[in-house]
């Protein structure tokens, strides 16, 4: 187990390096730059700006410098000589933003990420609380009207995209009935509609995966054995089937959590939520090179980390994998 973990951790480094390199060079080959949209920039000012941000250096040099800055200060000899506290030593420096003067990408992330995390947490909670029972119920009552009902509800969640569901919910519950505010992120009640909208898709996927996984397990021999031994239906489901049946849900949850937590641009746009998802896409429109890279790195690190967690949980849920 430890060897497996160490191996996967080692693998994460080249993956991250490729992602950083790819993003760095891809955005540089796109025409335009962070200062092209700015009005009334004379050529001299532009030249000065480029010089100030080292954008006139050769690309490979900028790349090398960026990676060097990204590397925690604990590995910088000259910084070590100066002496560091723990936070400085192992923090990652994403550099200042191009579009927000006087703010670093670290500050922007620290500002926006908690909002996305909160929205993501509620959405995930909703998805699990609704999705799991739906899927289990549908599998246990296969091919009855209960199954059809649960499966249809799940299918609705998948087929009504967030950008349709969100505005519809706002139209119905905010504008016509008036229970909620149409947008904003102030009172606790403002969390309800966005979380429902973002969570619905994931609830639907969880329900479908749980149903499929459980059905597959329920057709296996050890379930027949358990039934033959006279175990009650509830015991068969919860003690025997559920553990293996939820494997597909677990592998889905890894990338899903990363996606949910970093926020959805659409949800944050519809409900005017100041989260990281909105920042993420806007930064690409703005060619805010450092902010794009910072958010991409954060997002990729989350996916890689979540996949690692999923691998561990999968081995724990399915001991068969240990021997493969």
């Amino acid at each position: 187990m430890l060897r497996f973990l160490g191996y996967r951790l080692l693998q994460a480094f080249p993956v991250m390096l490729i992602i950083i390199t790819g993003t760095f060079f891809m955005q540089r080959y796109v025409p335009g730059g962070p200062f092209t949209a700015e009005k009334a920039v004379t050529p001299e000012v532009l030249r000065n700006l480029n010089a100030y941000y080292h954008l006139d250096d050769p690309l490979w040099k900028q790349y090398r410098d960026y990676l060097w800055d990204l590397c925690p200060k604990a590995f910088h000899p000259e910084a070590l000589a100066r002496g560091l506290d723990l936070k400085q030593a192992f923090g990652i420096d994403f550099r200042p933003s191009f579009k927000y003067p006087n703010r670093t990408v670290n500050e922007i992330i620290a500002d926006k990420l908690p909002v996305s995390l909160e929205l993501g947490f509620y959405s995930l909670l909703f998805a699990l609380v609704v999705g799991l029972p739906l899927g289990v119920l549908a599998a246990v009552r296969r091919n009855t009207w209960i199954d059809y009902l649960c499966s249809s509800v799940a299918m609705t969640g998948i087929c009504v995209p967030t950008f349709v569901l969100g505005p519809l919910l706002v139209l119905l519950f905010a504008i016509h009935i008036g229970w909620f505010n149409a947008s904003g992120w102030y009172a606790p009640i403002d969390r309800v509609l966005p979380s429902l909208t973002l969570g619905s898709v994931y609830a639907a996927y969880i329900a479908r995966l749980a149903r499929g996984g459980l059905l597959e397990v329920l057709s296996q021999d050890f379930i027949r054995t358990a039934r033959a031994k006279g175990a009650s239906e509830a015991r068969v489901i919860f003690r025997h089937a559920l553990r293996g049946g939820l494997l597909p849900v677990v592998s889905f949850l890894g990338p899903a959590i990363a996606g949910i937590l970093t926020g959805s641009f659409v949800i944050e746009t519809i409900f005017q939520i100041p989260g990281l998802g909105r920042e993420f896409v806007n930064s690409a429109f703005n060619r805010d090179y450092t902010l794009v890279l910072g958010t991409v790195i954060l997002y990729a690190a989350m996916i890689v980390g979540m996949n690692l967690v999923v691998d561990v949980v999968q081995v724990w849920l399915n001991p068969k994998l240990k021997f493969e």
Binding site: V15, I18, I19, G22, T23, M26, Q27, Y29, V30, P31, G32, Y148, M155, T156, I158, C159, V160, P161, F163, V164, G166, P167, L168, V170, L171, I175, G212, E216, P248, P255, F265, V266, I270, F280, V281, A284, F285, V292, T295, V296, Y299, A300, I303, V304, N307
Partner: protein, 297 residues
């Protein structure tokens, strides 16, 4: 139209390929009412979008005096803020959405199937490297990738096909590889190798035909996923550009004006969701009918 043209030669070939598995599958599919319903809705939607615009009001005729009118006798689903007939616009938008769905899925299909089959057949280090690449691409935030492409090459519909296809092939490659690995070790492949057939012949003539079941199923399920992506991009203003329109564009416009004109959001949204619904039900039905197990890994 094209579906019919394709089904004729297939029917002619089937008796030689062993008829029972396919006719069994067809029988199972017919018994699945939801799947059948999905198939019928898709057929109707295809016919409407293909031929409807020939008979309906023009999708781009503006009538600024009219403005946005609610659904009524003259305009069944009402008109938008520029006085354009919403029904005609939905039909026309459907053409683009479905076209994007089909073409981008085809791109994903060709790349994914070849990639997965080659990885599985090559095995060893090649396989490991190829699948690592897929893992890395999976970890790339898709939004950035497509936004950069769209900004770089302009907002061009053909680029949209390629961009979406290039994202969606990953899952197809994984599924095909998983299936191919299990087929690869079966005896008839050994036999083919013993007969001295080349790699290419074994991959394309012996392995891929045996993967048809899962490929058909996941193609049916990729089309709605692709249409969803297109709508998502159009919603962000990065997809289909005016004067063309797609369901995503219509939904975006509807969401912007929903406080006054609810029908502009509700009808395009319903058309879109209904189509996705039907495609997914059909895909699920096919999966049960062809008895495809979800390929893990």
């Amino acid at each position: 139209m094209s579906a019919q043209a394709q089904s004729v030669p297939q029917a002619a070939e089937q008796p030689e390929q062993g008829r029972s598995p396919w006719s069994d599958a067809w029988r199972r599919l017919r018994r699945n009412r939801l799947a059948l319903f999905g198939g019928i809705v898709i057929a109707v939607m295809l016919l409407l979008c293909l031929f409807g615009p020939l008979f309906s009001q023009s999708y781009e005729d503006q009538n600024l005096d009219l403005g946005a009118t609610p659904p009524g006798a003259a305009h069944w689903l009402g008109t938008d803020t520029l006085g354009r007939d919403l029904f005609a616009r939905i039909l026309f938008g459907g053409r683009i959405s479905i076209l994007v769905g089909l073409v981008a899925t085809l791109v994903a299909l060709v790349i994914g199937v070849s990639y997965g089959a080659i990885a599985a057949f090559a095995g060893g280090k090649t396989d490991a490297v190829m699948m690592r690449i897929v893992d890395i691409l999976y970890a790339l935030p898709f939004a950035i990738f497509v936004i950069l492409l769209m900004v770089f090459f302009g907002r061009n519909i053909f680029l949209l096909f390629i961009a979406i296809g290039a994202v969606e092939w990953l899952t197809m490659a994984r599924i095909v590889r998983g299936q191919a690995l299990s087929v690869k070790h079966m005896e008839f492949i050994e036999a083919a190798r013993a007969l001295g057939y080349g790699r290419r012949r074994i991959i394309f003539r012996h392995i891929i035909p045996n993967l048809l079941g899962p490929i058909i199923v996941y193609t049916t399920l990729t089309i709605p996923a692709v249409m969803l992506l297109e709508a998502f991009l159009s919603f962000l203003g990065l997809g289909v550009q005016p004067p063309m329109s797609s369901w995503g564009v219509l939904i975006k416009n509807g969401a912007d004006t929903m406080e006054e004109f609810w029908w502009l959001l509700v009808f395009p949204g319903s058309a879109f969701s209904l189509t996705l619904f039907s495609l997914n039900f059909l895909g699920d039905g096919l999966r049960d009918a062809l008895d495809v197990r979800a390929a893990k890994d």
